[in-house]
């Protein structure tokens, strides 16, 4: 009598069948190709990447050699380099990195978003347990002779082949947005000539764009301001892209006189649209517009002179002392003894209060603090002074 397959074999066969079914069900997303022209936005690892006005060319594609077991199963980090070219000059380079498979436990922040002296702009929108959003503006040095990650190697070969002109130093507006599942690290390297004219070609060192130097030059200060103003509105587009909610084209690249609509203006425009379509009443529109004007997020670290525990203790004691006096007076019927008890408790309990509060706050903060404190950097194009390119380790 023929024997059937063993239980173990049946299980393996079942697993292979399930995997096969799943593979059949997963359809690979339409892939980008080098040389492809895109505008408005493009799909990148099940996310959308916004593109300022113009026709962008995919100049390089690749993957990063990034490993971090803490992240889980992210597949690989894919990279793309896109050029925006006019008259054989590269106006802007977009360098974008993102995961291919959603993870379950978040990503982390980039070193470029940590406080340092070279940043011309640094805004952290939010930084919580499982998500981050920050943006920065700083100078980055690279040209067609600069080596870099795989995608950049393809891109610079294209630049050389096409005899494209690239400046030596770029003004970079970088955006890092991540949530529990996905990460987008997009860096828009802008040709300073577009903001300053031909004079910008004499600025060949990142130090020419050091904050102190920029401050002393009204032209560079104006250019930096234009990029910063653009970046503070454009980050909303990058965030929408993470959620696949880009429905129209972002505006142009920064010009001194034409910054992109700020965070709150975009929200107000959406509310006006809803009101115009009759989907919300005038009262709702007005109430929500009032909220929208104030809600652009920005992470603010606690910089108070007194710790939260001390402030809380002062608040607690300010009426607690009278309660203590009242209790003591009910029992002793002596004003002198009651004040003695209340003031002694005021002194001793304050110490216990602050110690107790700080202990538990620290204890729970450790439970809360998660991957937003983790630094995740990839290999980037050029040198922007953060050292991330040299140390692509998480």
């Amino acid at each position: 009598m023929p024997r059937g397959p063993s239980k173990g074999r049946r299980m393996i066969a079942g697993a292979i069948l399930a995997m096969g079914l799943a593979v059949a069900a997963v359809s690979p997303a339409a892939a980008l190709a080098v040389g492809e022209k895109v505008s408005g936005q493009f799909a990148f690892g099940a996310k959308q990447i916004p593109l300022p006005t113009g026709t962008w060319t995919v100049a390089g594609l690749g993957t990063q050699t990034f490993r971090n077991p803490d992240i889980g199963a992210f597949g690989t980090i894919q990279s793309a380099i896109l050029f925006l070219v006019r008259d054989n000059t590269v106006q802007a380079v977009l360098e974008v990195n993102g995961n291919t498979i959603p993870v379950n436990n978040g990503w982390g922040r980039t070193r470029a978003c940590t406080e340092d002296s070279q940043a011309l702009l640094l805004i952290t929108r939010y930084k919580t347990g499982w998500e981050t959003s920050c943006q920065f503006v700083r100078a980055t040095r690279f040209d067609a002779d600069t080596a870099g990650p795989g995608a950049w190697e393809q891109a610079r070969a294209q630049a050389k082949q096409g005899k494209l002109t690239l400046p030596k130093v770029w003004l970079t507006a970088g955006f890092r947005v991540s949530d529990r599942q996905d990460i987008v690290d997009a860096r828009y390297h802008l040709n300073p000539t577009e903001l300053l004219g031909p004079d910008a070609s004499r600025l060949v060192e990142p130090s020419d764009w050091a904050p102190a130097v920029v401050k002393g030059d009204p032209l560079r200060a104006g250019a930096t301001q234009a990029v910063a103003a653009w970046a503070t509105g454009f980050d909303a587009w990058v965030q929408r892209g993470l959620r696949n909610q880009i429905t129209d084209a972002p505006g142009p690249l920064p010009r001194v006189a034409a910054p992109i609509a700020a965070f709150e203006d975009a929200k107000l425009a959406d509310l006006r649209r809803l009101y115009g379509e009759g989907r919300i009443s005038k009262e709702t529109y007005e109430a929500q517009a009032e909220i929208a004007r104030k809600e652009a997020p920005e992470y603010k670290p606690n910089t108070a002179l007194l710790s939260n525990a001390v402030q809380k203790n002062i608040s607690f004691r300010s009426f607690g002392t009278f309660v203590d006096y009242g209790i003591a007076y009910v029992v002793t019927a002596s004003s002198y003894v009651s004040w003695g008890i209340a003031l002694t408790l005021n002194a001793t309990d304050s110490v216990w209060f602050v110690l107790n509060d700080q202990y538990w706050d620290n204890y729970y903060a450790k439970l809360n603090t998660h991957d937003s404190e983790r630094v995740i950097d990839f290999v980037y194009v050029g040198d922007n002074g953060t050292g991330a390119a040299k140390e692509p380790k998480a």
């Binding site: 995997m19 799943a22 593979v23 069900a25 997963v26 690979p28 993957t63 490993r67 077991p69 199963a73 597949g75 690989t76 894919q78 498979i101 959603p102 379950n104 436990n105 939010y126 347990g129 499982w130 998500e131 529990r180 965030q239 929408r240 959620r243 909610q245 429905t247 929200k267 959406d270 509310l271 989907r279 109430a287 929500q288 517009a289 909220i291 929208a292 809600e295 939260n308 402030q311 809380k312 607690f316 309660v323 203590d324 209790i327 029992v331 002793t332 003894v337 003695g340 008890i341 002694t344 408790l345 001793t348 216990w352 107790n356 538990w360 729970y364 903060a365 439970l367 809360n368 998660h370």
Partner: protein, 386 residues
């Protein structure tokens, strides 16, 4: 204008028109026409929901009466109610609640996912600014609990559809910092050969978890819906970020075994396999990541308790410490054991309450940074589920 100059312009205008018409569906966020049908995908203000097989008729679409402006400028909470009709009978009611504009400070979980008296309640992950959960329970549909539901019931009446008195509900909540999708499928038992029941109160229904063992048809269907919900929760999570988890048709629960939504772990393993086959990752990377996925599965909840728990812990530990210290202070000033004892009792009771209330008030009004403790946000739903 010559024909030669007109043609390129006409071509450009036509191309622009075509582009607009191609893009329009992605931007079309306006209310759905009542009576129209939706198949495969429901697009709802930057989010999407892959629908189970069949034609879904729009019974109502409008603003929920729920309005909590403390969450920010979200436009309004949109409620869409769809009917699935089989052989002239109402088979399933789909109730979807979603924000119209993105917020900036998160949403929260539904209380139903934390209940322990339901057939199923699973929290996949939960933190201050995001979360995903699902549950299976029954809902009393007979009452007009919301204006939108009243409109949907009117639509049902106009089309001679009878809304079952009690339906089995599979509910899903997926939320992140900007968006929320609250999806509830109410399945009719009657169209699945399950007897009509006349319970007036939620807890009297035969769908109660503890009664299901005595009712084979109900038990089997509740199990089928629970199994289906496990896979479908991934569909809702993907839809929150305007993604499609699967291009394959999604089955209804009763047929789920034949055509199930592949669970998210299997799907991600398959995506890894595709990357390995395409050479994007090495065999070693595949092995390491696949092992991580199998070991850790999906999701991780915050370990941090909510504000009330933290406050209670602080209050208790503080009270223990200061009560000992108070014995010495009180005795020093009174020199009397009885007075010291009386003071201790009063201080413990009054000051503990004072401490607890002050902590909560401080957290609420001084706006200390929110922690990962999830908050509960519930909308106005169809029917009664308590």
């Amino acid at each position: 204008m010559t024909i030669r100059s007109f043609l390129p312009r006409a071509f450009l205008a036509l191309a622009a028109l075509l582009a607009v018409s191609v893009l329009a569906p992605a931007f079309a966020q306006g209310p759905l026409r009542i009576g129209s049908t939706v198949e495969r995908t429901l697009r709802i203000d930057g989010k999407r929901l892959t629908l189970p097989i069949g034609a879904w008729t729009v019974a109502a679409d409008g603003a929920s009466e729920w309005n909590d402006t403390s969450l920010g400028a979200y436009g309004y909470l949109r409620t869409v109610i769809l009917f699935r009709v089989v052989d002239g009978k109402l088979d399933t009611v789909l109730e979807v609640n979603a924000n119209v504009l993105p917020t900036l400070d998160g949403w929260g979980m539904t209380a139903a996912c934390a209940r322990n008296d339901l057939v199923l309640a699973v929290i996949r992950y939960r933190a201050g600014w995001d979360g995903s959960c699902y549950f299976v329970s029954h809902t009393l549909m007979a009452r007009d609990t919301t204006p939108i539901w009243r409109r949907a019931r009117d639509f049902a009446a106009q089309n001679r559809l009878v809304v079952p008195r009690i339906m089995l509900t599979a509910g899903f909540r997926s939320a992140n910092r900007t968006d929320v999708l609250d999806v509830r499928y109410h399945f009719a038992g009657e169209t699945r050969g399950i007897g009509v029941e006349a319970a007036d109160r939620w807890k009297d229904s035969a769908w109660m978890a503890h009664r299901l063992d005595q009712d084979q048809p109900r038990s089997a269907f509740a199990r089928a819906v629970s199994d289906w919900a496990v896979g479908y929760s991934g569909v809702v999570d993907a839809g929150l970020k305007n993604r499609v988890l699967t291009e394959d048709p999604v089955a209804m629960p009763e047929a789920a075994k034949a055509n199930a939504v592949i669970d998210v772990v299997s799907r991600r393993l398959a995506e890894l396999e595709l990357l390995r086959q395409g050479g994007a990752i090495t065999q070693q990377e595949f092995d390491a990541q696949a092992q991580s996925l199998k070991e850790h599965g999906l999701g991780a909840s915050s370990n941090a308790p909510d504000l009330a728990t933290v406050t209670a812990v602080k209050a208790l530990s503080y009270r223990i410490i200061v009560s000992i210290s108070h014995i010495f202070v009180d005795y020093y000033w009174t020199g009397n054991y009885v007075a010291t004892g009386a003071l201790e009792v009063l201080q413990i009771t009054i000051n503990s309450a004072k401490f607890y209330l002050h902590e909560l008030g401080w957290a609420k009004y001084k706006g200390i940074p929110r922690t990962d403790a999830a908050r509960v946000i519930d909308f106005k739903y169809i029917g009664v589920d308590v």
